[in-house]
């Protein structure tokens, strides 16, 4: 008996060692991912928070210095611009995207048009953001000049396929027996979609849209040739050049002036805070969704 028992003990062998080594490499890979994330977040917090919170709330409210080597706050107009551009893009893309997804999942199914739209939405997800920027430049900026709305258009075009994709997935999760129950009560198709299907999928749709918003808020390339470079507050969506946090980071990052670099870090801190906040809200919504099921 003892020999049999000892036969079952783990023996050091090349096979088990190799397995352990590979597991070790996997752990190292996790470290390799965590490292840049921690490094970037640390840099943003260390360099950005001190700038952003120096003589609070000046950084968040003051206008951007016209002369970039001048020290001091702030990023107020860029924050307003980011909200205008992202908000405008959300208002454009979310209703359109949800309706499009409703078509795909509730009406289109495997029809030719639905398959074409689904395919093209995949294509559109892959359009590089700089290409979308040039497209909006040609379509909008060349005619109407710089404005927050141009940026909103560019971001909306990037968000649209994302919203369609995530919403369609959520609609597909709504069990068909809920639709049938509604039909069996004499509800029309549109009534069923609006009163039963959408509410049932709402948390998932909201969370998907929020993630799209978080991504869009940090986009820079599509705004480069659409929004312009204002330094003063411009609360108008349609008139005159505007600015955004991402544009300010891009513009100040390559500056050789310490003051400008500081503002870039402060803006980066603000932008990361905003995107994380939106992501966090999306997470909370998702968590409540899964609890409801």
């Amino acid at each position: 008996m003892t020999t049999v028992a000892s036969d079952l003990h783990a023996k050091p062998s090349w096979r088990s060692a190799r397995s352990a080594i590979m597991t070790g490499l996997m752990v190292a890979a996790v470290g390799a991912v965590a490292l840049p994330l921690v490094a970037v977040l640390w840099a943003v917090i260390e360099r950005g928070a001190s700038v952003a919170f120096a003589s609070f709330p000046d950084f968040f409210t003051s206008e951007i210095p016209v002369i970039s080597r001048r020290a001091g706050p702030g990023m107020g107009p860029a924050i307003v611009g980011t909200f205008l551009v992202t908000g405008g893009a959300t208002l454009l893309s979310v209703p359109l995207g949800i309706l499009g997804a409703i078509y795909l999942n509730e009406y289109g199914g495997t029809r030719k048009l639905a398959r074409a739209v689904r395919f093209m939405a995949t294509v559109m997800t892959g359009v590089p953001s700089i290409v979308m920027g040039l497209f909006i430049y040609i379509m909008w900026t060349m005619r109407f000049g710089y404005s927050a709305f141009g940026g909103a258009l560019a971001l909306a075009a990037l968000m649209l396929p994302v919203v369609i994709g995530s919403t369609e997935q959520m609609l597909r999760l709504v069990p068909s027996h809920l639709r049938e129950a509604s039909y069996a009560l004499g509800a029309t198709k549109s009534r069923t979609i609006i009163a039963i299907v959408l509410p049932a999928a709402a948390p998932g749709i909201v969370s998907g849209c929020l993630l799209a918003v978080a991504r869009a808020a940090g986009e820079t390339a599509p705004l480069l040739f659409a929004v312009g470079a204002a330094t003063a507050y411009n609360p108008s969506l349609f008139d005159e050049a505007n600015t955004s946090l991402s544009l300010q980071i891009f513009g100040n990052a390559t500056s050789s002036f310490a003051a400008a670099q500081d503002r870039a870090w402060g803006a980066a801190f603000t932008l990361v805070l905003l995107t994380f906040l939106v992501t966090f809200i999306a997470r909370v919504v998702t968590a409540r969704f899964s609890r409801m099921r």
Partner: protein, 293 residues
């Protein structure tokens, strides 16, 4: 129009209908009981596949008609043809004569939503909407135009009472229907269905997901509802058919020479008592006595 006068308007069929597939006598039913559904040579297709064929039967008012038979015999498929639930499945179609009070249900001007308003359905798995108990019951009346809160309150209470659920839920009408037990959920679905005052209630194995006690309550409920509604029930459970129904239709699946696949056919339709004590067809007898299926 309200639901009540729809019942009064029905022209009573004076000519004695020939009831029963094989012309059996029918001592339990008055000779002038109105015919609700009149089927001749009905078939249902899913694409090219004929799921059930050649069905001829008459469903009588204020009776419980049970559809029984082994799996795949097309009884659920046929049931869904009664209120045009197949309309929502791409490729599904119904052929033959399927009349509701003498009107072709699949006639060109007949609206599926109007049909389903009068012919409600209770599904196999309880499928309450992810809404409050109140909103579940009020959904049907609302989509059919009732907006007045007092009226809705009255309908909700009346329907829940009729479904023998009022006393259990009257204090938590605002809480989610998903928090109820399976049996309660199914009774809620019945309340939801009768809240629109249909003439016919179709039930697709309403007890298959329930325990014996909950099943007994639903069966009791069906007997009570019989005086107000015409009920057609699909059931796997022969004892249930014997216990609750007035008439029973036995279906089976047989090889269809048209496409070499098994399709459902109606074998025998008669007074329940006769089907279970003295069936005319050998296949029925085999099934009833457990030699088949």
């Amino acid at each position: 129009m309200t639901a009540d006068d729809s019942h009064d308007d029905i022209p009573v069929q004076r000519a004695a209908p020939r009831i029963g597939h094989r012309g059996s006598g029918d001592p339990q039913v008055a000779i002038d009981t109105p015919v609700v559904f009149d089927l001749e040579d009905v078939a249902v297709y899913y694409g090219a596949f004929r799921a059930v064929r050649g069905v001829a039967m008459k469903v009588l008012k204020n009776q419980i008609t049970a559809l029984i038979g082994p799996s795949g015999c097309g009884k659920t498929t046929l049931l869904r043809a009664f209120n045009r639930m197949h309309d929502v499945i791409p490729g599904a179609r119904v052929t033959g004569k399927l009349q509701y009070h003498g009107i072709d249900l699949y006639g060109p001007q007949v609206s599926a939503t109007e049909v389903r308003r009068r012919i409600g359905m209770v599904f196999q798995k309880p499928n309450p909407f992810p809404k409050s108990i109140y909103d579940n019951v009020a959904f049907g009346p609302r989509v059919n135009g009732t907006k007045n809160k007092i009226e809705l309150d009255a309908i909700v209470e009346k329907s829940l009472r009729a479904a023998a659920l009022w006393d259990e839920v009257k204090d938590r009408l605002g809480s989610s229907a998903l928090g109820m037990s399976g049996g309660q959920q199914q009774r809620l679905c019945i309340a939801r269905t009768i809240a629109v005052e249909p003439e016919v209630v179709l039930m697709d194995e309403p007890c298959s997901a329930l325990d014996p006690i909950a099943t007994a309550r639903i069966e009791e409920l069906m007997r009570e509802l019989k005086s107000r509604f015409t009920i057609v029930i699909v059931t796997h459970n022969m004892q249930q058919a014997a216990r609750v129904s007035d008439r029973t239709a036995f279906f089976t699946a047989e090889l269809d020479s048209a496409n070499d696949r098994r399709t459902g056919i109606l074998v025998e339709y008669d007074v329940t008592q006769k089907i279970f004590s003295n069936p005319s067809d050998e296949r029925t007898e085999n099934y009833i006595t457990g030699r088949f299926g």
